[in-house]
Symmetry: C3
Subunit: 398 residues, 3 copies
């Protein structure tokens, strides 16, 4: 059985696909481990096709709408790549150039952009309490549009980062780990340190640390979350992580020491974020357009951050990890000390050692997104993938 | 004979295609009813193919240029969808990022963007007297480019809304009516009330009301145009509508009472617009960049509008229509009272009752645009459509 | 042997392809004449396929990234057309909407946008000493990404205008000449006057005049470079041109008289540019964001320019050329006296006479870009082209 057949077999065994068809994966903790495994195996199968010059075009035509309410390079290109791989054309919804300001409802816009669309990807991570809610409103509008006969098909909705989760990022992270350690099973019992790290900026979203702990807890990993006092994540997600860890035979611990988290870790993921209480305050101020309040909040937060400049992923800290050789991870771009800032999340020498690894990590994202679209739009993804390999159309004609 | 064969037969009977090949449909009143019917039937055939998962890709490659000189959501996505359905890739001409400011002529730009382009869609609706003129200059430049050997092919020019007509909108509106009432023939003798409605904004283009009356008059409908005194449309178009109605066995009447227009109507289309004399003034002020003058004009117009807040499509007004059940239409987004504004064009309860209908109405636009491109670029659209159904390529591979 | 077979035979004879595979053509003077001839013949072959309605799609999927650090119409559409012709989808990297400001390195960005990309086109012409250097950093990053296993394929990098060369422009110019005069061989001994011309603007890049003289010198042409004293090009490129002319059996002369350059010329290319010393100053001021300094520099340069308003390509000057019938060339948009400005580079009557020629000239650019991508990504372009004509897929289905 070759690599590709192995992925196909995993999809069949997982039997998770039926729960994915025409369902949006907005938060990983709403899907079962089997469903998540199905996505991973579809992503691997698509990556295999790409590497082996076999076309994965399953759509002859169709739009993939993108809506970015925040800046993006990696995710924008990942989404565009995924859409293109499957045969869709990206059409960006630029709210500044649209008539949306005109007082149009979300329900209306969602239908208007979907007549010939097969997927919609949204990034909306700025306002705590808003991004996920917005995506659910879009999802419901699409369901209604299909039910009311307005839409001929129900596009897949892809969460390209909300205020609380960043599933395309964390699932790419996880897929990277399965390749690095050999399999999903091998991750059982591995220790991952998800820690806060110092950054000279503030207001970074909570979606990555929250998404990472909640996802890794599904597959038996030992998770050490660490941050300076006051940098709490949303309590509900921490609780969810705790029970997921128990269910999967892993463990979950929290503390305020970066060193302790790094001790004997197999994987470290040091990354800055803002406390969720600050994010709540910030959301309020942004909504009130209180510039003065925002400036004051930024100043006090940066002053607060400055107490923790030693939360840097340094060579000394890496020595604490298993054999001093833990895998370093980052969602990029990292704040690299003396490269992108004076003092930041990671020492230049540490980052450079793992630089190519972080790039490889990022390279899984297009395939995770493509897998999400495929699983949402095709009832039997295994059969679809079999069809692609049998068809055997060259991606690049030779 | 199935639905699709029926559309093909209609195209043959209409024999309107020859007048469409390599001709731009910039204003519906320049085309014959047979030509318009051909577009409708091609649009229906393309919609049939889409619904039945049959690819309508007639181009293997080629660009569809878009140039939006005003905001757009629906039309932008409709154009992108239409282009994509036929196999073309949208390339947006963003005049701000181009060298056009550099003093380049329209003739030059038109050629420079067309070397490998198959269609050009333009929205230019802000200046009365300018949009249609600009499109004609582009059209002439393309004709010359083809004649001079500069261009290998002559792209189809699509009017995505000009200062005087909005054919992709009104033809989608009409196609919606043919489906709602069963056929084009069934529209003979139906009464449509095209009326002004109150809006708290000003300066809305004349292209929709003008386009609607001029198009509906071609097919034997009884048109009641109503607006408060002073909100006149361009006189020439009103005259054209009048003679079209006479020719087609319909009727045309004008008045200043919304109630009277609604009385016994089968269809109502209440929508705000600015008087054409105001649009002329506004164009002058915009061209002179007279900010003060524009502010004053806006104020006086809004004050004027405020006299007519009772021009709202309310439940009471809907009761006046045939059996109280006329079809409500709008090009969207509508100014919905207490939803998108305090007081607007339509009561929330009326809009909600017909909301799905208005979405279905909007859903015909991508197919109308695709039909326009196909009719312009393919000499025998019937044969092309036959080829598509025989080829039977799945749009989404199963 | 038909036209297409003739191009294929030329590619074989040139045996230049092996030096092009997975190499970026950033500056024409780094490629051999055989390699350049291969590009010309591939471009001609692709143009033949397009004219004869044969699809040139060699990619089933893949992105073509574009990064424009300066405005562009022609080159943007040419790149989009080229990508589309080969089957790629353009994805624009808008640095304003990305996280690049975030302190991300060029190396990182280059990898992040390339996971499923087959080509990257860059315009970076504003800063002398910066554009070409940036492209080389991108190229090196892509090489590393491939070597490190980050990238599955190494995208072709296309120079869409740097600070020192504009190869897609000058090679399109040259291809136009081969068609106008019948063949590359026929250009041997032809005189081309590359001259400065007056423009009421300043700061136009040096890439076109430098690129033109350096390229034309490879094929035995007699090059007369003329400009008012003080409007020097970069000395190294002038020296390179001089030795190229000697090697190819052509000649190169410089002077300060437009009339002398035009005398008996077969081709004239009058175009404004800024002296390289001014470009150096300007780059320094731009980097220091010295607005006052930039304003002063602009004023002094325009004053300086104003001494040379007689450097206009007038009817009188054209009479000096061979039989008064030299071919006029321009990269467009030209500053046309009394059309796009009061007094400019070319008299309206001269431009009008050659207008269609300049458009035809511009029309070669999409095919040159497509040829560059094809030669970079396909080891045996001759075989690839043979495959396309044998496959014979219609570009537009009939």
């Amino acid at each position: 059985m070759n690599e590709f057949e192995h992925y196909l077999a995993n999809i069949e065994n997982a039997t998770g696909a039926s729960g994915l068809f025409q369902k949006d994966l907005l938060l990983t903790w709403e899907s079962s481990p089997e469903e998540l495994k199905t996505i991973f195996n579809i992503a691997d199968a698509l990556k295999y096709l790409h590497s082996n010059n076999i076309s994965a075009k399953v759509f002859e035509s169709g739009l993939a709408v993108s809506l970015f309410r925040d800046n993006s390079t990696r995710t924008r290109f990942s989404y565009a790549s995924a859409a293109n791989l499957l045969g869709l054309n990206v059409q960006d919804l630029d709210e500044g150039k649209s008539q949306i300001a005109h007082g149009e409802t979300v329900r209306e816009t969602a239908n208007m952009i979907s007549f010939l669309s097969e997927a919609i990807g949204i990034r909306d991570d700025m306002y705590l309490g808003a991004g996920d809610a917005f995506m659910r409103e879009v999802a419901k509008s699409l369901d209604n549009g299909k039910a009311e006969g307005v839409l001929n098909q129900r596009p897949a909705l892809v969460n390209l980062q909300s205020d609380i989760d960043h599933p395309t990022q964390t699932m790419a992270d996880f897929l990277h780990l399965t390749h690095h350690f050999g399999s999903i099973e091998n991750l059982q019992g591995k220790k991952i340190a998800m820690t806060w790290a110092y950054s000279p900026s503030y207001g970074k979203p909570l979606s990555v640390p929250q998404g990472v702990i909640a996802l890794m807890a599904r597959f038996g990993m030992n998770i050490s979350l660490a941050y300076p006092e006051g940098y709490e994540l949303i309590p509900e997600i921490v609780e969810t992580t705790d029970s997921f860890a128990a269910e999967s035979g892993g463990s979950f611990s929290m503390g305020n020491s970066m060193d302790k988290a790094f001790e004997n870790a197999d994987i470290v993921y040091p990354k800055s974020w803002a406390p969720y209480k600050v994010m709540e305050q910030r959301t309020g101020l942004l909504q009130q357009q209180d510039t003065k309040g925002l400036d004051d909040l930024e100043k006090s937060c940066l002053a607060q951050n400055a107490n923790y400049v030693d939360w840097e992923c340094s060579e000394a800290k890496m020595k604490l990890t298993k054999k001093g050789e833990a895998l370093y991870m980052h969602c990029l771009p990292a704040d690299i000390s003396s490269v992108s800032c004076e003092q930041g999340e990671v020492a230049a020498s540490v980052f450079e050692k793992y630089r190519a690894d972080t790039y490889v990590q990022a390279g899984f994202k297009p395939f995770i997104i493509a897998a999400m679209i495929l699983a949402n739009r095709f009832e039997n993804p295994q059969a679809t993938l079999k069809h692609l390999i049998r068809r055997g159309t060259e991606r690049i004609h030779s």
